[in-house]
């Protein structure tokens, strides 16, 4: 087996130029955790690797003018988890990212790599969907910004073209009156992939009315998914009387899990409903949010 050519471009533009020439032969690595596992399993065998590790300035975590967050694609999961501004502005993002594997892996894996890997069992995409995150993409035809929801196509597959890079993750400001939570169901070990994970956000009015809602789930479909019907049921309800039974029914109908070592499809379907209900009850019981 011939070793792949190893390229270390110094800038995003240089990386895009390289990838444009390499076409389908080029494979991008950031932290190289998931990519190395895929190589070991023989699922990818690129003839050239474009290592983004020499690109400076793509790992920053900054406040945006509107009070949201812009996270460089090369920020490690550990950097996101421990960032004071992430903990202040989006504490559930810090929490959920901190649930990935172990600190040893989070020190190496990056947020951009985590999303571009498009593994539906990962934690970060689920909380980011609930927070209406967007991603910035750079490629030969320029730059574009799209909702994270439109980014995932299938297992290990995104909308990124062969010469496109995810450069930044943008998290809009979370309203102070929003209730946000993340649950990761781990029946095996603390460092495992979720059997089922769920993130929810309830934007609550001072009188308890739910103005808007997000319900996102992981490990239950070919992509990290939002449960649109469940969100519609929650929208316009009251936090004091959430339509939990109907939401559970909607979530159970929306998910499409597969049998694997973490549970049968039927079990995961039931757990998706159950953990959504638990999360919503916990959010509803949280102390009243300040207006």
């Amino acid at each position: 087996v011939t070793a792949p050519a190893w390229h270390r471009p110094a800038s995003v533009d240089e990386a895009i130029a390289l990838l444009s020439e390499l076409g389908e032969d080029g494979s991008v690595v950031a932290g190289a955790t998931a990519h190395t596992l895929l190589r070991k399993q023989g699922l990818v065998s690129p003839s050239a690797i474009v290592d983004l590790g020499a690109i400076d300035g793509l790992d920053g975590i900054v406040l945006t003018p509107d009070g949201g967050l812009a996270i460089g694609a090369l920020a490690t999961l550990r950097a996101v988890e421990t960032s004071p501004i992430v903990r202040e502005r989006a504490p559930m993002l810090a929490h959920a990212v901190g649930r990935v594997a172990t600190v040893r892996i989070r020190n190496q894996a990056t947020l951009g790599g985590n999303l571009a890997h498009a593994d539906p069992a990962q934690d970060p995409p689920v909380i980011l969907l609930a927070l209406d995150a967007q991603v910035d993409v750079a490629g030969p035809d320029g730059r574009r910004r799209l909702p994270l929801e439109d980014f995932f196509v299938d297992v290990f597959e995104t909308v990124l073209g062969p010469a496109e890079l995810l450069t930044s993750i943008v998290v809009p400001p979370v309203p102070a009156t929003s209730l946000v939570g993340y649950e990761k169901f781990l029946p095996r070990t603390a460092d495992d992939y979720a059997t089922v994970s769920v993130a929810a956000r309830l934007d609550v009015e001072p009188d308890g009315a739910v103005r808007d809602a997000r319900v996102a789930l992981g490990s239950v479909a070919s992509v990290p998914m939002r449960a649109a019907e469940a969100e519609a049921l929650l929208r316009g309800s009251s936090r004091r009387d959430l339509p939990i039974d109907a939401v559970v029914e909607a979530v159970t109908a929306a998910v499409d899990p597969v049998d694997d070592v973490r549970g049968s499809a039927a079990y995961k379907r039931e757990m998706a409903g159950l953990w959504t209900a638990r999360l919503l009850r916990r959010l509803a019981a949280a102390p009243p949010v300040a207006a």
């Binding site: 011939t2 070793a3 792949p4 050519a5 190893w6 390229h7 270390r8 390289l18 020439e21 390499l22 690595v29 190289a32 955790t33 190395t36 596992l37 190589r39 070991k40 003839s47 050239a48 690797i49 290592d51 590790g53 020499a54 594997a101 172990t102 600190v103 040893r104 892996i105 020190n107 190496q108 603390a190 460092d191």
Partner: protein
């Protein structure tokens, strides 16, 4: 694009304080380079998929996974292995000495990784509580000890003393116990 790395090329990095120029293909994994090229066999390979923690190393002081780390990523970086944690004269670090004194090992295969991981913890959190130790060390599996001795060793190395926390005295201060491993007695003594 000229394929320039299909043949071995030079990767420059620092290993245990020493500058190295390695002639390897950049996709070679650090675990293989350490063991097969540099003869640093203190770093073990267990699961090979990033789960078990046997191959824990420090990169620029940060805890990482040598079996998931292509050496091409390490150009210009500094790697510390268990051999770099032990003094050049073979003297144990205070943490290593605590592992010995508190029985934080049995068969020993996971021990280099445990020590490297705990070294990183104490560098970041000099006085962790027990839950911080357990949480951090989740990534280092041990199939012999049940983790009691490991957690106690890390706490002891941080300056914690038995009585202050859920810790037994070190092995050399324990009364001889003909009954052997009586965990219930320990639990009663610790949380009466």
């Amino acid at each position: 694009v000229t394929p320039r790395a299909e043949a071995p090329s030079a990767v420059r990095l620092e290993v245990n304080g020493q500058a190295r120029e390695l002639t390897v293909t950049p996709d070679r994994l650090l675990i293989d380079v350490l063991r097969d090229e540099l003869g640093l066999t203190g770093t073990k390979e267990g699961c090979s998929i990033g789960v078990c923690g046997l191959c824990s190393v420090l990169v620029d002081g940060t805890l990482m996974t040598a079996c998931l780390l292509p050496v091409g990523k390490l150009e210009g970086h500094a790697v510390t292995t268990i051999e770099g944690i032990t003094g050049p004269d073979g003297a144990l670090s205070p943490l290593q000495a605590a592992f010995v004194r508190h029985g934080g090992l049995q068969c020993g295969i996971c021990t280099p990784g445990q020590v490297v991981a705990a070294t990183a913890l104490l560098a970041e959190v000099p006085q962790p509580d027990e839950s911080q130790v357990r949480d951090w060390m989740t990534g280092n599996l041990c199939r012999c000890t049940g983790y009691y001795g490991i957690v106690e060793a890390v706490l002891a190395a941080s300056g914690a003393t038995p009585g202050e926390l859920d810790m037994r005295p070190p092995l050399d201060e324990r009364p001889l116990d003909p009954g052997g491993h009586d965990r219930s007695a320990h639990a009663d003594a610790g949380h009466a």
